[in-house]
Symmetry: C2
C-alpha cells in the first residue's frame, strides 16, 4: 500500500475517479438524488430508499457530510428533529445525476414485481427527459399526477423549473395518468401511459402534444431486464 493512498481510493488524479471515491459507494447517489429534490429527514430517506439498511444510510450520511456534500441540521420548533440538505457542492451533482438518469432510463425494462418508485426519483427523471431544443422560447406549465405523486413543470421562455407539488396559481394543463395494476408511479410509467393515451387531461389538448415532445425522448435502446441466473 502506497503512502497517502487509502485502501478504497482509486489512486488516480482524475475527476471521474475522484467523483466515484466521494459518491461511488452503494446507495450514495440515491441519497443525493432524493436530497436534490427537497430536504429530508432520516426516516423520509429510509422510505424513499426502500431496502436501504439503517446502518448503511447512517454511514452514507456521515460520509457525505464529511465530504461537504450533505448538511445535517436540527429542525426548528414545529416538528423538531434532524433534517438533511445538500450543500452547494452537493447541488452541483445534479447534472451528473440527470445524465445518469437519462442513460439509465433507456436501460429500464418492464417494472419487476416488488419494484417501487420514489417521488424524488420521478422529478429527476423528468429533468433528464427534458429536451431544451424542443422547448426553445416556450412558456407553459404542466401538473403531472402519478398516483399520489404530484409534479410540476414550468417553462419560462424555454427555461425549466420543476419539483414536487402542484403549480402555484394553477397549471395550464393537468395530466393525470391512469396507471394499470402494479405499475409503479415512476416517470417512465407516466410517459408510457401518456403515449398509450391512458391519461386524463384538464386543459388544452395541444399542450399535451407539446409535453410529449419536450419531456420525452425516443426509447431507442430498450431492452429487457436480465433474467435472474
Amino acid at each position: 500500500m502506497v503512502r497517502g493512498v487509502k485502501r478504497r481510493d482509486y489512486a488516480q488524479y482524475c475527476g471521474i475517479a475522484r467523483a466515484l471515491e466521494l459518491v461511488g459507494e452503494r446507495w450514495a447517489l440515491l441519497v443525493v438524488r432524493d436530497l436534490t429534490v427537497r430536504p429530508r429527514r432520516y426516516t423520509d430517506l429510509q422510505e424513499g430508499l426502500r431496502g436501504i439498511p439503517t446502518n448503511v444510510l447512517s454511514t452514507r450520511l456521515k460520509e457525505l457530510e464529511q465530504a461537504g456534500i450533505v448538511e445535517r441540521r436540527v429542525a426548528p420548533a414545529p416538528r423538531r428533529g434532524v433534517v438533511y440538505t445538500l450543500t452547494e457542492v452537493g447541488r452541483a451533482l445534479e447534472p451528473a445525476l440527470i445524465a445518469l438518469g437519462r442513460w439509465g432510463s433507456s436501460q429500464l425494462g418492464e417494472p419487476q414485481p416488488g419494484y417501487v418508485a420514489s417521488p424524488d426519483g420521478a422529478v429527476l427523471n423528468l429533468r433528464g427527459a427534458f429536451q431544451p431544443s424542443e422547448a426553445a422560447g416556450l412558456t407553459a406549465s404542466w401538473e403531472l399526477r402519478l398516483g399520489d405523486t404530484v409534479i410540476h413543470a414550468r417553462l419560462a421562455d424555454g427555461a425549466l423549473t420543476s419539483g414536487l407539488g402542484p403549480v402555484e396559481d394553477g397549471a395550464d394543463l393537468v395530466i393525470t395518468a391512469r396507471f394499470e395494476e402494479g405499475e409503479p408511479p415512476a416517470y417512465r410509467s407516466f410517459v408510457k401511459a401518456a403515449r398509450e393515451g391512458r391519461v386524463d387531461l384538464d386543459g388544452p389538448r395541444e399542450l399535451f402534444d407539446t409535453f410529449l415532445r419536450v419531456f420525452t425522448y425516443p426509447q431507442a435502446c430498450e431492452r429487457d431486464l436480465p433474467t435472474p441466473r
Copy 2:
C-alpha cells in the same frame, strides 16, 4: 427478499437506480472511461486502471458485456488477441462520465504521492472542462503535451472533437506542459501548469488565451497568475 428482485438490485423503477445497478460497481465506470477514448486489450486496461485486481477486472468486463455495454472481440491478424470496445449503449454513457468528471474535478485536491493519471482519463477530463458557450463559432486546433501523453482538441465552428495523439496535419498551437517533480500527467495538472505559465508554446499566443477560456473552468483558490512566454 421479494420475488424478481436480485439481492444487489435497488428495486426502484428509476433511471438513476438502473444506471447504478449496471455501472455502479467498483471500477466499472473507470473501465468504461478508458474504453470511451479507444478500444483496449485486457492488459491495457490493467495498466490504465493501476491497482485493479485482475479478478475484478475480469468480472467487470463480463458483467459489462452481459449488460450490452462492452463488446469483446478477437483482433485480426497482426497483433492477435482480445480487444474490448464499447457498444452504442456504452458510448451513450459519455455525457454521464463527463458530468461526473466535471464535478469530481472540482473536488480534486493536491495530487497525493502514489497517484497516477491515465491518458484516457485526461481526455475525458478535457471534454468535461469544455465550455461550449465560450467556443461558439470558433475554429482552431490544439495539441496538448502532458509528459508522454499527447492529446488533440479541434474546434470546428464551435464543435469539439478530441482524443489521443497529435492533430493530423498539424495543430494551430502546441502547448507543452513543464510538469514539476511528482506532478502526474493529468488534465488538471496540465491546466494548473498552464495557468501558472509553466508551458512552452508553439504557435500564436492568443490561441493560448483562447484555450484557457474554452477548456477550463474556475477552480477554487485562484490567484493572480503569471503570464507564460
